[in-house]
């Protein structure tokens, strides 16, 4: 290096050379050190720390950290709200992802051929991906909330008689509201991935099918679906892992209510930890939740690595 030549003292020269030789030898490890240290400090260390929290009583309302054994786990497991929130999380995630997948696939199939204005349409469709879920929740609240939102009025026009649905307060309508907000935000996720998959299918396959006079449905089943398969798995698993974290729109749209009707697992754990301050109990709950998701995460990441190798 140029700077090295300017060094006058032979001693520092050789030390610098030794240093640069050392750094050259360990170059690949030096590059990963900052990122690894950060992840260790902010993910691994907190998780290890929380193992201690699991077995003591860490509660802002009770001083001291007495050892309590498995009591924290027990309290979560016997809590009916915890069970309810887990079921709701599963039900909402599956519904959301299913609708997003079908709608995204339909959109991708419709948009795969080029047409005038396609670029602009694409840009509009993907807009929700860049908006905070908090704002998405806010936007749908504005549309749905009685009596301010225009939804009931428009439905009244359509049906011909007055509609007075509490979209954010009455079951089952509030589930519908939460689903529509999620579908609005995440359908483009499915759409862009599936569209990328569709455009990578060799067009000569379709041409051959057309010459042979194969029907649309058969073409979809025999060519499109098999080619799209890996992409579908990837998109659905990816989306599902985010869907089970559902929290932001609930926080804004229903606040978990009425009662605990719209508690998802994340919302339940948040409430236990940060409004009731039973931090140990919330930690125990989040470890159970983590254990349940880790199986799926591992499977997905393995899959991603495979796709990547090929």
């Amino acid at each position: 290096m140029a700077q090295v030549g300017n060094m006058k003292q032979a001693g520092s020269l050789s030390r610098l050379e030794a240093l640069s030789e050392w750094s050259d030898r360990h170059f690949k490890w030096l590059l990963v050190v900052p990122a690894v240290v950060l992840i260790l400090a902010l993910s691994v260390y907190p998780l290890l720390f929380s193992i201690w929290v699991l077995f003591v009583n860490y509660d802002f309302q009770i001083p001291g950290h007495a050892f309590v054994g498995l009591k924290n786990f027990q309290q979560v497991l016997v809590d009916p709200v915890a069970r309810w929130s887990l079921w709701l999380t599963i039900a909402l995630s599956v519904t959301n992802v299913a609708i997003e997948f079908l709608l995204g696939l339909a959109l991708a199939l419709t948009m795969v051929k080029t047409f005038r204005g396609r670029g602009l349409v694409m840009s509009i469709i993907i807009v929700p991906l860049f908006i905070s879920p908090v704002i998405v929740g806010q936007a749908w609240t504005l549309l749905l909330q009685r009596p301010f939102g225009p939804t009931n009025y428009l439905l009244g026009l359509l049906t011909g008689h007055e509609v007075a649905i509490g979209w954010l307060t009455e079951s089952p309508w509030l589930y519908f509201s939460l689903i529509i907000a999620d579908v609005w935000q995440w359908t483009p996720f499915m759409f862009v991935i599936l569209l990328a998959g569709l455009t990578s299918i060799p067009p000569n396959l379709y041409e051959a099918a057309e010459i042979d006079g194969v029907g649309d449905w058969q073409v979809f089943r025999r060519i499109t679906l098999p080619f799209l398969g890996p992409m579908i798995t990837l998109a659905i698993t990816f989306r599902l892992l985010d869907a089970i974290k559902l929290f932001d729109t609930i926080f804004i749209m229903t606040g978990g209510g009425p009662g605990t009707k719209t508690y998802t697992s994340s919302f339940y754990l948040y409430t236990v930890g940060f409004t009731q301050f039973h931090l140990s109990q919330a930690t125990a709950g989040s470890w159970i939740f983590l254990a349940l998701t880790i199986v799926v995460v591992t499977a997905l990441v393995r899959k991603l690595l495979e796709v990547d190798q090929s």
């Binding site: 902010l42 806010q138 549309l143 990547d308």
Partner: protein, 271 residues
């Protein structure tokens, strides 16, 4: 350029309406005088638009402070994440550092439920005095966006041929110089795209900010808490703040549209 059948036009048209109506209604609410909120039939084009909600949202509800905090935190975290992510990705792509396991470990961070991580971080931050500080939020967001930066850049570096760097090494360049003078300049477009995705992720994040900040370093999305629970009194303010927040991230997102597929799948799928 083919003409679309009528059914498809209708479907696309309806979907666009579905996307745009909530945004339009929010925008209209932000410039509508409060007296028009409960009008029947609903007012879709306000006759006397007003900016009063914007000034209220920014000043009375401390939206401006949230905006500044969000900028400081998101920009710093993005810079750190892009820097450390690029270094790690280069090491993975060229030297296969740590093999599959290290890459797997970094990637799996992306899928950890935030609630499981944030609870213990909150406890540690309280002990260390990092709760409600810029530093605490910046490093939390750096780690939160690292998997995306690393994996996007990993895919990018592998698309750049090794041969020039190898030639430089033969000519006596150090490994660091061959990275800095050859690989890095070629990777700039990828780094910019990855950084924009990281920025959008920080800018729109809510859960970490809700728990790790309170009175001082609260970010823009957490300001929306102020509008909860009051029957419609602050619809204009909430909408105004939403518009202020979503405009920059939509512009940035549209700029990196062609990298979107790679961004969403952490580089696993090429768009």
């Amino acid at each position: 350029m083919a003409r679309l059948p009528i059914g498809r036009i209708l479907f696309i048209g309806l979907y666009l309406l579905f996307v745009l109506v909530p945004l339009y209604w929010m925008f209209i609410t932000s410039i509508k005088p409060s007296d028009d909120y409960l009008a029947v039939p609903p007012i879709w084009v306000p006759k006397q638009p007003t900016l009063v909600h914007y000034s209220a949202a920014l000043f009375a509800y401390r939206g401006l402070q949230g905006l500044i905090n969000s900028l400081i935190i998101s920009l710093s975290a993005t810079a750190l994440s892009a820097l450390f992510g690029t270094l790690m990705a280069y090491s993975f792509a060229r030297f296969n550092t740590g093999g599959k396991h290290l890459a797997f470990w970094v990637l799996s961070q992306r899928f950890l439920p935030p609630v499981a991580v944030v609870l213990p971080i909150f406890l540690i931050y309280r002990i260390l005095g990092l709760h409600d500080t810029y530093f605490g939020m910046i490093i939390a967001y750096t780690v939160f966006t690292l998997p995306v930066s690393v994996w996007m850049m990993f895919a990018y570096f592998r698309g750049i041929p090794k041969s020039m760097e190898e030639a430089a090494l033969v000519d006596g360049c150090s490994r660091w110089m061959s990275f800095r003078k050859i690989a890095l300049p070629l990777a700039i477009p990828g780094i910019v795209a990855a950084a924009i995705f990281a920025f959008i992720a920080c800018w729109t994040e809510f859960f970490f900010a809700l728990i790790l900040t309170s009175r001082y370093t609260f970010t823009l999305p957490t300001v929306f808490r102020a509008f909860l629970g009051f029957q419609g009194a602050q619809y204009g303010e909430a909408s105004a703040l939403a518009i202020v927040s979503l405009v920059p991230s939509i512009i940035l997102g549209t700029l990196v549209q062609k990298h979107l597929v790679r961004g969403l799948t952490l580089g696993a799928v090429r768009g």
